[in-house]
């Protein structure tokens, strides 16, 4: 514990360097804007702005990109409360009671509760991250190829189980991602795979063109400007403070949302979305006045907003300590670190303490910055919301093209982004969630290498995965999750995942 505190102090030394403070601020500001603007999620925001970080060092890059991620969780609540349009998916639940509060003239109070809840949850998440990640990294150093293979398979199955679309759909997306991840030169034999004589494909397909295409361009293709309409409720600055009763009603939901969100954040899947749904359901269940939910209940804003922020911090635990992405956003962040020559994983703490502890410390600072940003500048964000979408999306397309081209100055990458955009549009039409595809793309090289190394180690005996306790334990969890999914299918029972899908689609309230 003492060494953790000393390391954290060292991290604050890194985070308080003027350059790092500036990039944390920039990340938080851009993240808030990304969250505020409908049509740009944190994933597309991070992907589009990834090339901007090429001129920075690894610490500055990850500080800025993470700022965009957790900043978007703060910003997403603004559109939810003022327009009843979720700025991004994790703010869906905030729409219900946040907008109802706004219609009752309590928009300022809802925004304040949301910002304070997000700050408390974000800070709680970082404290937990500080305590959990280093010991977990020490355990992960004992992992060999069979353990990593089992862990990656578990990650995919967990994602499939947690997904609000069906297991088959999620696994199909993961398979397509894995296949895309195998394009290029095979590291172990030097064979060219599926490169169609294009030299640019020798290094494989990058995560940036795929993520920007699927989430940035794909969203634009499926969103004609006439469909983006909404009335913005403008809160007055003096109305921002909640009254004593509202504070009292917010305290426990913020506490519950913080704990729940962090735990769910560690689990692979779209944690920040699931956590806000579960927090809403939990608050409704424990409330003495469940009938107020949907009509402007303070707990309906405080709980989900706290949960999604704690979850976005929790997602950094497996990313930093195991090098395993729990979702597409952490996958892109791992990719960003790799571009800067830093591998996320157990060695990160020992080999790059400046990056690890500087990043952790910057999150404490970033959460404070977001609190300071979100309340006083709410009128600025309201002005941004008034920019017509018709003028906004050509700008986003421009950033998509520039962002992807600047990664490796390859026009082939930009064409790949366009193809992925069209694919993303098609996948939306057929109710596929493209997130597992990105995850599959990122883990494909890791999975292939660890699987092949395991088989070489055991002379082709699959029993190696069952003879080692950690990999056996992880595979047993895989079987349990698959069994639970099969049970739901056989019994034709509607479980929480289907209810989540319906809630996301706005069909029912949980």
């Amino acid at each position: 514990m003492e060494s953790t505190l000393i390391s954290l102090l060292h991290g604050f030394g890194v985070a308080f360097q003027p350059d790092n403070l500036w990039y944390a601020f920039l990340g938080c500001l851009v993240g808030t804007l990304v969250g505020v603007l409908p049509g740009i999620g944190p994933l597309s925001g991070i992907s589009i702005l990834l090339p901007v970080t090429f001129g920075l060092n690894a610490t500055q890059a990850v500080i800025m990109l993470a700022g965009i991620y957790y900043g978007s969780q703060y910003g997403g609540s603004t559109t939810s409360i003022l327009m009843r349009i979720p700025g991004e998916a994790s703010s869906v639940m905030t729409c219900i009671d946040g907008n109802a509060m706004a219609k009752k003239g309590r928009a300022g109070a809802a925004l304040c509760i949301s910002a304070v809840g997000s700050w408390v949850a974000g800070t709680f998440g970082v404290i937990m991250l500080t305590m959990v990640a280093p010991p977990l990294a020490t355990i992960a150093l004992k992992f060999g190829p069979p353990e990593y293979t089992a862990l990656l398979i578990l990650g995919l199955i967990f994602l499939a189980y947690m997904s609000s679309t069906s297991l088959v759909r999620t696994l199909l997306m993961a398979c397509i991602g894995l296949l895309l991840g195998m394009i290029g030169i095979d590291n172990m034999t030097g064979h060219f795979r599926y490169s169609f004589d294009l030299a640019e494909l020798g290094d494989g397909i990058g995560i940036v063109p795929v993520a920007v295409g699927l989430f940035g361009l794909g969203e634009i293709l499926s969103t004609p400007s006439h469909k983006v309409v909404g009335e913005v409720i403008s809160p007055k600055f003096r109305e921002l403070l909640p009254n004593r009763q509202e504070w009292r009603e917010a305290v426990m939901p913020i506490a519950r949302g913080s704990v729940l969100g962090f735990i769910i954040g560690i689990i692979p899947g779209s944690a920040h979305i699931i956590s806000s749904f579960l927090s809403y359901a939990l608050e409704k269940r424990v409330s003495k006045h469940p009938e107020q939910f949907g009509k402007g209940a303070v707990a309906g804003v405080a709980g989900p907003e706290s949960a999604n922020n704690a979850a976005s911090t929790g997602a950094f635990v497996p990313m930093l300590s195991l090098g395993i992405p729990t979702g597409p956003i952490t996958a892109v962040l791992i990719g960003a670190l790799m571009i800067h020559g830093v591998n996320a994983g157990p060695q990160l703490v020992t080999e790059h303490p400046d990056v690890f502890w500087g990043f952790v410390a910057s999150m404490y600072v970033g959460n404070l910055m977001l609190l300071a940003l979100n309340l006083p500048l709410v009128s600025v964000f309201v002005t941004v919301l008034r920019i017509p979408y018709a003028y906004l999306y050509p700008l986003i397309i421009m950033f998509c093209i520039v962002g992807v081209y600047e990664v490796s100055h390859s026009i082939v990458d930009v064409y790949i982004m366009l193809i992925m955009g069209v694919l993303g549009y098609g996948l939306r039409k057929f109710n596929f969630d493209p997130a597992p595809l990105v995850l599959g793309l990122v883990i494909a090289p890791l999975l292939e290498q660890s699987l092949r190394q395991s088989l070489i180690m055991s002379n082709g005996n699959y029993f190696i995965f069952f003879s080692r306790p950690i990999s056996l334990g992880l595979l047993i969890v895989c079987v349990i999750l698959l069994g639970l999914s099969a049970l739901t299918f056989v019994l034709k029972r509607k479980d929480w995942r289907e209810k989540l899908a319906e809630a996301e689609a706005g069909e029912v309230q949980p």
């Binding site: 088959v168 398979c175 469909k227 093209i401 520039v402 600047e406 930009v414 955009g421 109710n431």
Partner: protein, 148 residues
């Protein structure tokens, strides 16, 4: 039998899986004790076919294919075509000319905005972005034959 959305989607994935196996012909699968470069692609392609077939089998639960909404299809096609042309011109005409042309075309052709206003918006936004990238972020952007 009514054609369902998942019939079409499942069939597409089965065809994709078969295509991957066909394209993997020259990749050595190897042996279990020494897996080759075609080993995992073959496994994943087979899984794609299996999951695609499962989707077809459960297609009755999905919406009829005729009900898949394509009302935004025209918008999507026009944006795709204009973006594709912009990508093709990007390295030849450079950032400034290509992006101004793309933004004005998107605003005038798709959004039916006033050409003068669209032009002014496009020029201001593109020049501002160029200055940010070239001078603040020190990231060179493609230039036109006219050296800007």
């Amino acid at each position: 039998m009514n054609l369902r959305a998942d019939h079409v989607a499942g069939a597409a994935f089965v065809i994709f899986g078969v295509a991957i196996i066909a394209l993997s012909g020259d990749l050595p699968v190897g042996q279990l004790s020494m897996p080759g470069s075609g080993f995992l692609p073959m496994i994943v392609a087979v899984l794609t076919i299996v999951f695609g077939a499962a989707l077809i089998l459960r297609a009755g639960e999905s919406a009829p294919f005729s009900q898949v909404g394509w009302s935004d299809g025209k918008h999507a096609t026009m944006v795709t075509v204009i973006t594709a042309v912009a990508i093709a011109l990007y390295t030849y005409l450079g950032f400034i000319i290509t992006m101004v042309l793309m933004m004005v075309t998107l605003l005038v052709v798709i959004e039916r905005r006033n050409p003068l206003r669209a032009g002014a918006y496009g020029i201001v936004v593109v020049l501002f972005t160029y200055v940010c990238f070239a001078y603040v972020l020190k990231t060179p952007l493609p230039v036109s034959p006219f050296s800007y």
